[in-house]
């Protein structure tokens, strides 16, 4: 990039052409207040707070590129007074009585008010009341607190790829709307929650988190989401000196997701009401009886010769390794973990691709962040999409081609304009796989069925259902335990307690869930990621790693 010379605050500096004044100032560690600007969204120039003076003229630094001979002044009285005036106008337009706003204490507009010493309103306030949209399960939109910075609009489209939000009317009457002005809860919103994360004010808030506390009352823990095999980077806000999560944000600096999350990653921990296994118990003729960890060990030791061990992809590598080191070749995976056709593209390839064939998976419902990558290209006008599915697939609404799964062969023939598309699939019937394998121009991204499917695969833990007298299960997804013979004695180490489990298992041992233990897993790119321990175990659950280590020692002594 070509370098040019400009003056900033009377110092001559060499800067790269093409950058904005704001970018250059940031690199020089010079502070310019901003409101509508947010990396990595495109600059909009909506709020005017980032004004600076260039040879006597006020310009917005977030949208103005540097140019030769510029003589920039950051803090002249003219600049400071203009910013104050703009802030005064922002505070008086709409309802900014912080006193009855849940965002107070966490608000960028309020912080700017503090920064500029605003101690009263200069103008009387605009009294028009806009109606609040409370139709969404997780999000409240309150236009009365909106400063029309359009961060939400840009984030929903440019980053999350959902293109739900837009604006309506003009001037002071402008409103942020969903789709063609329908309530958010009835719109095409996927509940990714990014708009609430980026909104600088109380205009879009996550209705649970906003009542749980302010950022200063939380500890921020960087961790990877382990709800699926994408492994998105998250910032988890945990209430200080308490044992609950206030909110989960996408980590804007994460190479995997760049800040975007899906509904599951953002909200499921906040709304986790699944019944937990609160202690360990064994079933006899009268029901369940409590069991302590020594007894569990004894029981397993006694059955050592007749048991097979099953694990699922909710376990971390460290736990899987320990289980393998104890039970050796008796360890199997309850679910398939082998790709039917291995991936030959990475997430980064996917982000840059323009041709997508999605087969048999609805990316608005699972692997939502993969959905974001596809949608931001397709809806952004830069990508082509074909969907093959035998079930309802919500992506069909935006795809250029939609086929039933059994039309795959002919359908692929019709995609003439697709040069080397990426096929995104999870699990498909054999004949479908054969058709795909016959094509040469296709690239593949396999969506592993479980979070740590790749870890299981790397440890060579095969999927095979063996019938035996006793089964030891470690994991979260008990679904396939049904496939075992009725007389099999099942000992399940698991965090949640669905009703079928009570019916089927003979011994149930409560373990911590994903937020209460830490460990590593491999995402679908084969990247080793870390899930941090955020919460302390809530019940008398057993520490799986500790238990396995003790058991290992006991069985070694024998």
């Amino acid at each position: 990039m070509e370098k040019i010379k400009i003056k900033i605050n009377d110092n001559e500096v060499e800067v790269e052409q093409g950058k904005t004044i704001l970018q250059v100032a940031k690199e020089l560690n010079l502070h310019i207040p901003t409101l509508c600007y947010l990396e990595p969204l495109s600059p909009q120039g909506a709020c005017r707070l980032c004004l600076v003076e260039d040879r006597g003229k006020l310009v917005t630094s977030c949208t103005t590129p540097v140019a030769p001979n510029m003589d920039i002044k950051l803090d002249t009285p003219n600049v400071v007074n203009s910013r104050k005036l703009i802030l005064q106008l922002l505070f008086t337009e709409r309802n900014h009585y912080c006193m009855y706003c849940e965002q107070s204490g966490n608000c960028e507009l309020q912080n700017l008010g503090y920064e500029f010493g605003l101690d009263h309103f200069e103008f009387s306030t605009y009294e028009k009341k806009f109606s609040i949209d409370n139709s969404h399960d997780y999000i409240i939109m309150d236009p009365n607190r909106c400063v029309l910075c359009r961060r939400c609009v840009r984030a929903c489209s440019e980053l999350a790829g959902h293109f739900v939000l837009g604006e309506m009317n003009r001037g002071i009457e402008t409103l942020i709307i969903a789709d063609m002005n329908v309530p958010l809860g009835e719109s095409s919103c996927t509940s990714c929650g990014l708009c609430a994360q980026v909104c600088p004010t109380g205009a879009i808030v996550d209705k649970r988190s906003v009542y749980l506390g302010k950022d200063v009352q939380t500890d921020i823990i960087y961790s990877n989401c382990n709800e699926c095999a994408v492994g998105c980077g998250t910032k988890v806000y945990k209430k200080k000196n308490s044992n609950f999560i206030v909110k989960i944000y996408g980590d804007m600096d994460s190479e995997i997701n760049g800040g975007v999350l899906c509904k599951i990653g953002r909200f499921s921990a906040l709304f986790d009401e699944k019944p937990r296994v609160i202690s360990s118990k064994i079933k006899d003729d009268f029901g369940f009886r409590k069991l302590d960890s020594d007894k569990i060990m004894k029981l397993i030791s006694e059955k050592m010769d007749e048991l097979y061990v099953y694990v699922d992809g909710s376990l971390f590598n460290e736990e899987l390794e320990l289980i393998k080191s104890i039970f050796k070749d008796k360890v199997y995976s309850l679910y398939p973990n082998e790709p039917q056709i291995p991936s030959n593209v990475t997430l980064n390839d996917l982000k840059n691709a323009n041709e997508f064939i999605v087969i048999g998976v609805d990316l608005n419902r699972e692997f939502g962040v993969i959905g974001s990558f596809v949608k931001r290209k397709v809806l952004g006008g830069d990508g082509k999409l074909a969907v093959f599915d035998s079930n309802f697939n919500s992506l069909a609404q935006i795809s250029h081609y939609t086929f039933n799964l059994n039309e795959l062969k002919d359908g692929l023939e019709k995609l003439k304009e697709f040069k080397s598309p990426i096929v995104i699939y999870k699990e498909l019937p054999k004949d479908i796989i054969e058709i795909l394998k016959g094509k040469e121009n296709l690239k593949y991204l396999w969506l592993p069925p479980e979070t740590n499917s790749i870890g299981l695969n790397k440890l060579n833990i095969k999927h095979e259902i063996k019938n035996s007298k006793t089964i030891l299960f470690f994991g979260e997804n008990i679904e396939a335990l049904k496939n075992f013979d009725k007389n099999t004695f099942i000992i399940a180490f698991t965090p949640y307690e669905p009703e079928d489990l009570l019916r089927r298992a003979n011994v149930i041992v409560g373990i911590s869930n994903g937020f209460e233990r830490d460990g590593t897993f491999y995402n679908l790119d084969g990247k080793l990621l870390k899930k941090e321990k955020i919460l302390s175990p809530k019940f008398e659950t057993l520490d799986l790693k500790k238990f396995l280590n003790e058991f290992k020692n006991v069985s070694l002594v024998k």
């Binding site: 009585y97 009855y100 204490g105 010493g117 009263h120 009294e127």
Partner: protein
Amino acid sequence: MKKIKVASIWCESCSGCHMSILDMDERLVELINKGLELNATPITDLKVPDDDTDIGIIEGAVATDHHEEEVKMMREKCKFIVAIGDCAVFGGIVTMRNYVPLNELLKRGYIETESTVDGKIPTSPELGKHLPKVKAVNEVIKVDYYIPGCPPSADAIYHVLKEILEGKTPVLTGELLKYE
């Protein structure tokens, strides 16, 4: 030593700001020793300040015609007006009523609340009449200094009074300005 006369009133508000004044504790004595003299205040229970009052402190929003008269009287009798607390400074929590029609609001408050039996909207001529819109003090009279906060901290009030006593112009920054 020249005395600095201080008067205060509260309009539509919860009196929390006056609690914050008392919350200055021994620093109130320090200010009195420096020349501060409490004139008409809810604390001294005098209603009308002297004509030569120096500082008039106003808590609360202007919600009725009585409040309007009172703040105008304060302006006439006091050299400096200090608006304290979010209600006086911005209109505060009281402005919530600006978004609901007045008759609906009175009905809800006096008749329809779940715990009310045979309620009725008070009509005594002694009561102030509601203005159509709740206002911040500076929408009615000129205000010289502002201390926002709900309630403002005793530290902020102390800072402002001390600066005025020492002949300086009080400016709130940092934590003293923070609403919470």
